[in-house]
Every structure is written in structure tokens, then in C-alpha cells.
Amino acid sequence: MIRRAKLATVGEMAVTIAHEIRNPLTAVRGFAQRLHRKRNDPETVHSYSKIIIQEVDRLNKVLGDVLDFARNVDATFGPVSLNEIVDKSIQLLRERFGQANVLCETDLDPSLPVCHYDGAQLSQVLINLMKNAAEAMEGGGVLQIKTRVTETDCVLEVSDTGCGIPENRLKHIFEPFFTTKVRGTGLGLAFAKRVVEEHDGKIEAESEIDCGTTFRITLPIKREAPKMEELIDSLEAVAPMVDPDDPLASPESRRRSAAKPWQESS
């Protein structure tokens, strides 16, 4: 049964990838054919070259999505400030937002703690969400990014004022290869879900047609991992004690045990 489900996914993947590759290839091949014929018309040459570059970039993005999703990345956890991730990710997309007439607003909770997360992957997740939001707001709109902290969790919300996602599609959006866009591999949100789950968190979406969509990521607060020196100290605290006079014990353990008097278990 699982194998059949896996095969179905592989089948869907093959169809989606074929669609996402052969369509841009059709444009690239066709406009290249026409370029040759229109070589004496500079305006047309310019316009066709632009389309070819656009479609090649799209092919590259498809490949990037597939690679991002397919590779087995071992999460690299470290001290991360979600607010910093938001700021950096917005900077990366600032130009795109300007071109798309997207106004980006933030409401970041300064009391958000530094947590032990995978910053690179969370940044990619946020970028995926922000790009989706911008694409959902054809002609422009407002993109809001909020962070807040609860007793147990860090919460990140990305809201847009876009077209919204119909209810029957909303429940499928985190499935790999499901897409509501005309163009897209349907891997961006599946990747987001996987990353969030690697953090023991959850991702949810609420949407209203013609009003917009909000994605909410809830990540349990994970304090920074203890430093190596702290780890050694804590190990020493529980290390088995030896008789300081035991000639078979190592000099180090005899020294430690002498410092912390030997106690018989009662």
C-alpha cells in the first residue's frame, strides 16, 4: 500500500516536472526558431530574447525547487533570531516587492527569544511564503509579517491581501506537487511543511476568497544548545566517582573524586 502510494507520488512528480519543463522548452525552442527569421527586426529580437531568458530562469527555478525538495538535508541547528530572519528575507525580496507593487509591513515582537533552529531552512521557508503571497496579489497589495511569542512557542505569520485559496484546495496545499498556481511545481509549501515539522512545529493556512491568505508557523521555543564546556561540566557532575586511593583509577578521575568526596550509596 505504501509502495503504491509512493509510486503514485513518483508518477505525479514525473507529470508535474514534465509539464514544468516542456512548456518553457516549447517557448525557448519556438522563439529561437523565430529569432532566426526575425533577425532584421531589432524590437522583435529584443522581445523574443527577453522571453527566452525568462523561460530559462523559470527552468532553473523548477530544477531548484526539485533539488531543494529531494535532497536529504540534515538540519543544521544553531542560535537563530526569527526577527533577524524576517528582516534579511525581506531585504532579499525588496526589489521584487517594489516591482510587483507589494507593500511589506512588519510587526515583530522584540521579546522573541533566540532559539535553537535551522536558520537557513527557515529563511527559505519564509522566502517561499513571501513569494507565494506576492504572486497571489496580482497588481499589488499588502504583505504583513508578524512574530509573537507565547509561553511555549514562537509564532510567525505571513498574510497577504491576495485572491485567496478556495476551501477545497486549501486542504491540499501542503501536499507535494499540488499547486494552485498556473505555474509552479507545488513543492514550495511541501518543503515548508517538512522544515517546520523538523522543528517539531506546525504550519497552518487560513484563507478567504478575494480577501487574502494567512500562513501561521508555530515553533516550540528551543533554547540554545548548551556550549561544549557546559556539557563537560554537566557530564563531570554525573561521572562515576572512584576511590581516590584506587591505584587502577586514572589520575584525572582520582583528582576529580578527591575534589568531590567519595560517598557510599546508602
Binding site: 507529470v15 514534465a18 512548456n23 516549447t26 519556438g30 522563439f31 526558431q33 523565430r34 498556473v182 505555474r183
Partner: protein, 120 residues
């Protein structure tokens, strides 16, 4: 000269086919998906349709089924990125003029358009 309707959700592909077929002297109408196309079809009453199969609102096979009820003999050339035996069987059963694989060679497209229009 013929009135040709290009139905494809890819704007660049619609533009490509339009430019190429307009150079041949045809008049081109475009639609972004099957549902839009049906409304368009009522309006333009084309001599031939170039149809993509995988579209967001109504897929090409659904469209074919509906259009055949109204225009049983309308020449339709299917242009698809993904082929399958079942879809091919359905397409031939729906008497399509040709099935072209993307990426399409423009010379092949024009030759199939000519053949389909001659037959009709």
C-alpha cells in the same frame, strides 16, 4: 486564411503560436483555459482550435467532450507536455486532427494546421 483559437495556460506559448500563425496569414484568438475557451468559442466560432491538455480550470479532455457536442467536426490539434496511452485513446476517439508533443517544432505545427484545415 482561417480563424484559429489557441487555448493554453502559458502566455508565452500563446504568444508564440499567435506570432507564428499570424505570419501565415491566420487570424488568432487566445484563451487561457478550457472554461474561458468555451465562452471564447461561442464568440469567435473558430475554424480550428489548438488545445493544451493540462490547464487549471478545465482540462483539455473535458473541453473536447463539451465542444464535440456543439461542433462535432471542428478540427482540433492537441499540443501537450505529457502524453499517456489513456489520454491518447480518448483523444483519437474524440477525432482530434493531430497530437503534438511539446516542445513543438513550429514547422510541424504549421504543417498540421494546413492539413487539418484542408481536410475540414
Amino acid at each position: 486564411m482561417a480563424r484559429i483559437l489557441v487555448v493554453d495556460d502559458e502566455p508565452n506559448i500563446r504568444r508564440l503560436f499567435r506570432d507564428e500563425l499570424e505570419d501565415e496569414g491566420h487570424e488568432i484568438e487566445q484563451a487561457g483555459d478550457g472554461a474561458e475557451e468555451l465562452a471564447e468559442q461561442e464568440r469567435t466560432n473558430p475554424d480550428l482550435v489548438i488545445l493544451d491538455l493540462r490547464m487549471p480550470e478545465m482540462n483539455g479532455l473535458e473541453f473536447l467532450e463539451k465542444i464535440r457536442k456543439k461542433r462535432p467536426d471542428l478540427p482540433v490539434i492537441v499540443c501537450t507536455a505529457v502524453r499517456g496511452i489513456e489520454a491518447d485513446y480518448e483523444l483519437w476517439s474524440s477525432r482530434v486532427s493531430a497530437i503534438l508533443n511539446k516542445p513543438v517544432d513550429l514547422e510541424t505545427l504549421k504543417s498540421e494546421v494546413r492539413k487539418a484545415l484542408e481536410k475540414s
